[in-house]
């Protein structure tokens, strides 16, 4: 018989049912309403949800058990993510759990692990990511924020930009230049900085979705203890590259796209048939087929992870295909809404408030093909690999 098996095992189905039941109990109505509208959670909502998961031990899903991970397989994590999304809960913030956490337990000292990991596992500490700068976007290695080594601290000066949730965060992890005499990539280090340190200023950037989630962060003579350096000086670029390949099984956003697809289909069926152009039905079917292709490609990466195999080439396109699909889903929702999608901020829903809010998500998701390495940069990286450049 063949080994390709597209079914979950009995144990996995029992696990799914257990997660589903827990979500039913623990995802509050206000969270459900927010995600049903495709809206964004407030800081209070996001923290409440992450603490709830942290309390249960279900926040740092990919972490080794010794640091507080649940010890799940990649398949279980995939099931969990799908149940989470379909229950109407928001995705968790990636900066602590998916980014700095794995960096600390992989490259950090024992003291750093003890100091920072528990706060992330419990959802108590909020982190943000200080990578991009005004003149170092896609060309990240050209970053200029300096960290000079003094007797007992680093003195940090410079500016970071596009910093998601910097105005919420307790901590920021930064790529900083500690040596400008060597090759660009080799002079970069990885620093953990307390956002309450004097000399840090956060300025909001308002985005076209009408929300405030992005910021500029300014550093003026900010003193950072030497023990906040992760790894050694000059290791920053290696760490940043490690993060790019660390976790591939949820990068495609399959779970949240399933949620978006479910909402789209509900809206389609709620509308009187004469009001829906044939082309809209068709487009939704096409998107559902694309979602299927993405999902099975994602399954291959999940299965490889569980079998202890390295990711195959199938994982390379997950971010590109995943974000393109998110954009198409949100655009289709806006188009399906028609006139109702023109309503930006009415207190009372005008028609369906899911449509009233749809342009916000559509506007927000324009960023998805830009953040985390724009899709064009992803293609450059992949082309190098394919062509052996």
């Amino acid at each position: 018989m063949y080994c390709v098996n597209l079914e979950f095992t009995d144990e996995e189905i029992a696990f799914r049912d257990m997660v589903r039941a827990w979500m039913k109990e623990n995802v509050s109505d206000d969270l459900r309403r927010v995600t049903a509208r495709g809206d964004m959670t407030s800081k209070e909502q996001q923290q409440r949800w992450e603490k709830c998961l942290g309390e249960k031990g279900w926040l740092a899903l990919t972490w080794p058990e010794q640091y507080g991970g649940p010890g799940w397989t990649a398949t279980q994590r995939y099931i969990f993510d799908l149940e989470r999304a379909m229950a109407g809960a928001p995705p968790t913030s990636p900066f602590g759990v998916s980014m700095v956490g794995p960096v600390i337990y992989t490259f950090g000292s024992e003291a750093q692990k003890q100091r920072w990991l528990p706060g992330i596992v419990k959802g108590d500490t909020l982190w943000c990511q200080g990578y991009s700068e005004p003149n170092a976007g896609s060309d990240l290695a050209s970053l200029k924020t300096r960290a000079e080594r003094k007797d007992d601290h680093y003195l940090v000066n410079g500016q970071k930009i596009w910093t998601t949730q910097a105005h919420w965060a307790d901590m920021i992890f930064c790529l900083v230049r500690t040596d400008s005499t060597v090759k660009q990539q080799q002079g970069i280090s990885f620093l953990l900085i307390d956002m309450k340190t004097p000399g840090i200023e956060v300025r909001p950037i308002y985005t076209i979705d009408g929300h405030h989630h992005l910021n500029e962060v300014y550093f003026s003579d900010v003193q950072v203890p030497l023990e906040n350096l992760v790894g050694t000086e000059g290791m920053g670029w290696t760490i940043a590259k490690f993060l790019l390949t660390h976790e591939r099984t949820t990068i495609a956003g399959v779970a949240d796209s399933h949620h978006a697809m479910a909402r789209l289909k509900e809206a389609l069926h709620a509308a009187p048939r004469f009001a829906v152009p044939a082309q809209a039905r068709r487009r939704i079917a096409e998107l559902e087929i694309e979602l299927m292709a993405l999902e099975y490609t994602n399954f291959r990466t999940v299965a490889a992870t569980d079998e202890g195999r390295p990711f195959g080439p199938e994982s390379s396109g997950l971010k590109i295909k995943g974000t393109e699909l998110q954009q198409k889903l949100s655009q289709t929702m806006v188009e399906l809404g028609g006139l109702m999608s023109l309503v930006w901020d009415s207190e009372e829903p005008v028609g369906s408030d899911q449509f009233n809010n749809s342009p916000r998500r559509y506007n927000f998701l324009r960023a998805s093909t830009i953040y985390g390495g724009s899709n064009e940069i992803q293609k450059n990286v992949l082309a190098k690999m394919l062509l052996g450049l």
């Binding site: 390709v4 292709a293 490889a304 590109i320 293609k379 062509l387």
Partner: protein
């Protein structure tokens, strides 16, 4: 979940690859293309000896009990080497139609196909009914058959044909000698041989009607699901070959004193092809399992989705392969354009992309209630 092919399936795929490498080439393909009879008996016999003829069928009917995914791996390699031997159309298709029919004539005919002794084509479509194989315009009245079939792949050497026909309100599956019909042979888009067949009041033998009603419908729908999955397999093999050839070309072809692969626009085209190829592979694995499912709704959904996706993305890969090759890509002497025709051919057979999207939407809406 598990996405590793079994050792057995991998072995079948490797054997197919080796066999085709040894026995087939672009030159052989082109010589076959020029012939009206595609029976090359030594190769046909070798395929039979490799066990391919029995592979798709259960041991209960004298087959070797392989799975659709095993057959898909063979067909994918055939696509990768442009092989025109009508294995799918004249072994898998008629055999699958017969496999589920519980009668002595069906058993005997299937056994002779597995033994390589019968050359049987299958006629599902005609110009009036289009893709609707279950509502053919061919009609049985009494013991006579009237009407026509078109688009019948016959390798140029079929002796008989299995056709879908209407008998009253029922669907029937009928086996007819081609010598009793008027046959017009022609070349098809991919270079294979096809025929249009006119049945002018053909007198049927006593055992000509193989199955009727629900049994005939079930045999036809299950067979078509296999054929749709195998269309995808053939397109996948061809698309993979095209991607590899195009990547090689980008590394070697120089313009402006540099390899064209050094241009970012070409790099991004290649990456798009590569990513789509990975997604196609996922869809092929998916449909190779689900098209053989006993759950009709799951099977049809999988087939519609895969066929629609291949018709979009595999065709796009083929178009881009030509674009990156430039002028030489549209010449008859380079294999690239031949792969392009093969992919276009498979995207149209057994339900074109648009039809499949419609079908998927209807299935999806039916499931939603």
């Amino acid at each position: 979940m598990d996405f590793k092919l079994s050792e057995n399936t991998t072995m079948i795929a490797d054997t197919a690859k080796r066999y085709l490498k040894d026995q087939y080439s672009f030159d052989i393909y082109r010589s076959v293309l020029a012939q009206t009879n595609h029976l090359e008996s030594s190769r046909w016999e070798m395929m039979q000896e490799l066990g391919w003829f029995g592979l798709p069928f259960s041991e209960a009917v004298g087959g070797y009990g392989g799975d659709l995914i095993d057959v898909a791996m063979i067909v994918s390699e055939m696509g990768a080497s442009l092989c025109l031997d009508p294995y799918v159309d004249m072994v898998v298709a008629p055999g699958k139609l017969l496999e589920s029919v519980d009668s002595e004539p069906a058993r005997q005919l299937l056994a002779s196909i597995i033994d390589g002794k019968s050359a049987v084509a299958c006629g599902f479509y005609d110009i009036h009914s289009g893709y609707d194989a279950l509502s053919p315009s061919l009609v049985i009245e009494g013991n006579r058959l009237s009407g026509q079939k078109s688009f019948v792949p016959n390798g140029g050497f079929a002796q008989s044909v299995l056709v879908t026909a209407r008998r009253g309100k029922e669907l029937a599956l009928v086996h007819v000698r081609l010598s009793d019909c008027e046959v017009n042979n022609h070349r098809a888009l991919d270079g294979s041989r096809m025929s249009s067949i006119v049945f002018d009041d053909v007198m049927l033998d006593d055992d000509a009607i193989i199955a009727c009603g629900a049994e005939a419908e079930s045999a036809a729908t299950q067979t078509l699901a296999w054929l749709q999955a195998l269309d995808c397999a053939r397109m996948y093999g061809a698309a993979r070959a095209l991607y590899e050839k195009t990547l090689d070309y980008a590394k070697t072809r120089k313009q402006f004193a540099v390899h064209i692969g050094s241009f970012q626009v070409i790099q991004h085209y290649l990456v798009d092809m590569f990513i789509d190829l990975q997604q196609l592979e996922s869809m092929l694995l998916m449909v190779s399992i689900k098209a053989a499912s006993g759950d009709a709704a799951e099977r049809d959904r999988a087939c519609a989705a895969a066929k629609a996706y291949f018709a979009d993305k595999a065709v796009r890969i083929a178009q881009q392969a030509i674009q990156i090759h430039g002028g030489v890509g549209v010449t008859e002497e380079l294999d690239v354009g031949h792969y392009f025709r093969l992919i276009t051919h498979c995207s149209l057979s057994h339900g074109a992309g648009d039809i499949q999207v419609e079908r998927f939407a209807a299935l999806s809406e039916a499931a939603h209630g």
